[in-house]
Every structure is written in structure tokens, then in C-alpha cells.
Symmetry: C2
Subunit: 318 residues, 2 copies
């Protein structure tokens, strides 16, 4: 599950990293040589209206626990990444529908609590940054790192830098690619409503009357010859290809990295998607379509990279 | 026609600027206080297979002419912008279908000929940069400057910088927004095939049997109550709104500046386009839709800005 031992950040400050997810929170301690010493995974604390404060409590608890077990590593900064709309510059979690905070001053609160500089970032953006610096997008100057999970969103990496658009960039899941169905965002025919893992399962159930727990089951049915599953999957691929063709026309990325749950479909996804995307392009720069490399650890590694950016340069750590 | 006297680049090096268009070439002399002293407009030289060389000849001739008329201004650099695919970094005109060059080493050739540092750029990108620095997009950090003319293309300005994607960014005219018609690029249903000025005129003629010289005549017919003209214009607006909605989802620009011939339609374009775009958006950052301010001089002003970037800093000019 953990990519920790396989990936090194290289020499720099020792840092703490915390990636707050909708279900679980992952925390990591990175030493001065860039080795991830330990990754902890715990349920994300939830406390109606106070989840933001509990996240900071949890970061402090994890910091103490990791300090006790790794006394030779003294972290110099914390990278904290959270979902929703995030204002990196002010260090504020602007809004999370799922976790229920609004204008949560994470950076300030965590810094006061831990006595460390804190960099707050967005989970999808941080995961994308990690893939760009350490993973599947390394070596490409212009890239998109797309998360195909319950939702669909992307990190935009251009000319060596993340592009954030005030925290609202990368919402490719909410651009219209079909005449329907309705999307949770209030739109219609959004990419996410057709091609996310959740949408694929839901659309299969709607069309077949068969309840399935997830997109994986739809893929399994398709491989057993289920024509409804095939139609749902093909529509998802068409929608993804169309959405990505707009990205290619606008930004001409050299690579599009695909991560998130659906990307585990491997060549069942990549090969037909590349074919459909290719059919939509003419003179455009054709991006490499590549699977994400850092898996579920991309977010916490991105948090660690952020932490290093704010660590005092003198604090080389352990 | 000329925005010259109204726009100042501010203090800096005196420079020459040349904007090579498909029909005309504009050249300007900017003095050390940033005032555009003169703008010349001449037919773009054409010489089968040698147009690239003739462009450099023309730049040298214009430089001599301007020097004779403005002996008090000594330009320290040349900014040259050309259409097609341009490699800014190497200073090479990679390809122009319209003007017929391939791998033309403009920067090197012009520099040898004029004895000045030369910055080569792309015409649409340079016009966008001028609108971003001096025109309608000034004051917005993240913006798109769209040219709606014979073709449709955009300059992408993000976090204070132009994004070029290896010279292939901004090709929003070649993303699919409809089931048809065929596009010159080999694609189908491209934005440019539905909503460019040329497409609007062509589609009106196809549907009505009435020959028209341009989109302006289709708009005039619409205002006289012509239902075919109305339908063609509405389809163009729908296509533009859909294409721009993908841009908004991906980049969340604060402003989208509309220039090129079609933008002269003013509120006939802007008001219904804003309404249609608004209907496609939900939580997204809604961009200001604003008309370009620099008109046909945007390209040559962008060339002048590029020239200033390569002018020797000691050479403050006149």
C-alpha cells in the first residue's frame, strides 16, 4: 500500500506531512536524506462543525507519536493537504462539502500548535505535484495529473510550476461532454457524471437493474460479456476522450497522468482511451497517457514537498 | 486604425517592432519613453518558397526608413512576430501554411541583418501579451485572450506569464463542440468550423443559398429578421460558450478577452455569450468577458514588448 520505501525526496529538511482525505488521513515523517521513515493511516476525525480543529489536533498527535518513535529525526516544517477549495496563499481551507469546514485557518492553527512553519495545500494539486516531481510526470515540462475516482479532477503543471487558478483550476470533471445526466454540481452532462468511478457504477445499475458496489464490478461484468456494462464503459471512455481533447487543444500537455481508483483498470482504460483521444486530434501535440506511479501516497508525498518549501534552510534536520 | 498614440509602453529601451500578418505587415518604432512614434502598414511580401527571407528584407527596409524619419530614436532591439507554429526559444518560424515557410531562422537572420538582438514570437501570443500587459486583460492575473477571426485561437496568460506549450497552446478553435461540420484541420465539429467569422458566413450561405462576403453581413441579415442568419449565429454562440466552458473548468481564468473581427459585433456577441456561458457554469469562477482594447495594433505592441525583453539594459535609447 505504501510507496514510501520506494520513493526518496532527496536531501533536504526533515519534515512532517499530513494528507487529510475524505475517509482516511495519511501522515508521514521524511528524514533529512529524503527517506520516508514511516507512513501512518488513520480515519479522518469528524466532529460536526469542528472537523477543522480536530484535523489540527490529529496532526499534533501524529507529530508527537512519530517524534517518540524516531528521536533521530527532527522535522522542520509541516505540509498539510486537504480536500475541497483551498487558498494556498493564505493557508485557509475555504470550503469542504464533504468534511464540513468553511474558512478554516489551517496553516495558522497548525503552526501555533506544532511550533513549525506550515504549508497548506490542496490534495489533488499536491498529489499532482508529487507525480510531477517524483513520479509518472517527472521529465515532462507540461502535464496534467488526473484523478479518476469518486470524482474527476486534475492538477495542472505547466513550465515547471503548478497552476492553481486561485484554487479553482483543474475542475475538468465539471465541463459538459454529453447531453446528460444531471451532475451533483447542478450542471448537466458533466464529465464526472458520466465517467467517474461512482458514475459508472450508478449508470450500470440504472441501466441493468443490477446493484453493484463499484466500477470494478462493472468492468468485471464487461469482461464476462455483459453488453450493458460494455455500453456504460464505452460511454465513459468517449466522455473522457472528449474532455481530454479540450485540454490538449488548450494546453498541449506532453503527458496526461491518470490516477485514482479507475486507473487500476490499466490497459482496459489506457489503450482504448488513447485510441479515442487520438481519433479526436489532428495537428495537436499528442500527450503520452501514463498511469500514476505513486498511488495512494502521492498526496502525502506532495505534502512533504510543500513542507520542504517552507522549512528554514538552515534546518537540515536529521 | 492605430492605437499607437493612445498606448504607452512606459520608459525602457527604444525598439523596433514588426508584426507579420497573412495580408499586411505592421511595423512600429517605440521610443525610450514608451511612445509609439509611427506605425507603418504594408502588404506582407510573398515570394514562393522565399517569403521568410523577404520578411527579413522588409524588416531591414522598414528599420532604415524609420531611422531616417526619426533620427532622435535609436532602437536597441527588434521584436518580430509571425503566424503559424513558432518556436520562441530557438527563434524559428517552424511552419506557416498560409505564408509557406518551414523552419525559417528568423531571429538569427534578422539579427545578422539589422545588427540588433531579436526576439521572435507568435502573432496571437504576442497580441495576447499586449492585451495582458497594456490592454483589456491588464489587472487580471489569469486570463485568456481569444482571437475570433478567420480562425479561432487564444493566448493563455497565467500567473503573470504567457503559457505557450511548445508553441501549440491555445488552439481552442480545434476542439470538438458539435457533431459537425468537417474542419480544415481534418477534425469534425471543431469550434472554428462553427463559430469563426469565416464559418458563420459559409454556414449562412450553405443554409440560405445567399452569397455573403463575411460574418458582418450575416449579423446584418439577422438584425433584419432573417431566421436562417439567427440560427447560424445562435449555433456559433452555443459553440463558443461550450468551448469556453471547458476553458473555465480547466483554468478558471478571471477574464476572457475577445478580439478579432467577430468581436466588433460588441454586445450582439458579448451579452448572449455571457448568458450562455453562465448557464453552463455552476460553482466555477465566472470570468469577466471583455472586448479587446488594442485592436489591430495588439500584435505589433506585443512585438515591441518582446523587443524590450531582449534589449541591452544599458541601451536606454532616445
Amino acid at each position: 500500500m505504501s510507496a514510501g520505501p520506494e520513493v526518496s525526496l532527496g536531501p533536504g529538511a526533515a519534515v512532517l506531512a499530513v494528507d487529510v482525505g475524505g475517509t482516511d488521513t495519511k501522515s508521514a515523517l521524511v528524514d533529512g536524506s529524503g527517506v520516508v521513515r514511516e507512513v501512518l493511516r488513520r480515519p479522518t476525525p469528524r466532529d460536526a462543525g469542528r472537523t477543522g480543529e480536530r484535523v489540527v489536533d490529529e496532526a499534533a498527535a501524529v507529530a508527537a507519536e512519530l517524534a517518540a518513535r524516531h528521536p533521530d529525526v527532527t522535522p522542520r516544517a509541516l505540509g498539510l493537504v486537504v480536500p475541497g477549495i483551498v487558498d494556498d496563499e493564505r493557508g485557509v481551507g475555504v470550503w469542504s462539502e464533504n468534511l464540513g469546514w468553511r474558512d478554516a485557518p489551517f496553516a495558522e492553527a497548525a503552526s501555533a500548535r506544532l511550533g513549525l512553519p506550515v504549508s497548506l495545500g490542496h490534495d489533488v494539486a499536491a498529489a499532482g505535484w508529487a507525480e510531477y516531481r517524483l513520479g509518472a510526470a517527472a521529465g515532462y515540462r507540461d502535464a496534467l495529473v488526473v484523478t479518476l475516482g469518486t470524482g474527476i479532477a486534475a492538477a495542472v503543471l505547466l513550465d515547471g510550476r503548478p497552476y492553481r487558478g486561485g484554487g479553482l483550476a483543474g475542475e475538468i470533471g465539471h465541463a459538459r461532454v454529453a447531453d446528460g445526466p444531471d451532475c451533483v454540481c447542478g450542471g448537466r452532462g458533466c464529465l464526472e457524471a458520466v465517467a467517474s468511478a461512482a458514475a459508472i457504477a450508478r449508470r450500470y445499475t440504472d441501466a441493468s437493474g443490477i446493484q453493484v458496489p463499484g466500477a470494478r464490478d462493472v468492468l468485471a461484468a464487461m469482461e464476462d460479456g455483459d453488453a450493458v456494462a460494455r455500453a456504460v464503459w464505452d460511454e465513459a471512455l468517449d466522455a473522457l476522450a472528449l474532455g481530454l481533447s479540450h485540454v490538449v487543444a488548450l494546453l498541449a500537455p506532453q503527458a496526461i497522468v491518470l490516477g485514482g481508483g479507475l486507473s487500476h483498470a490499466g490497459d482496459t482504460l489506457l489503450a482504448p482511451l488513447a485510441e479515442r483521444l487520438g481519433a479526436l486530434l489532428t495537428f495537436h501535440r499528442r500527450p503520452a497517457l501514463v498511469p500514476a506511479r505513486l498511488g495512494g501516497d502521492a498526496g502525502v508525498l506532495g505534502a512533504a514537498l510543500r513542507a520542504r518549501d517552507v522549512a528554514p534552510s538552515a534546518g537540515g534536520g536529521a
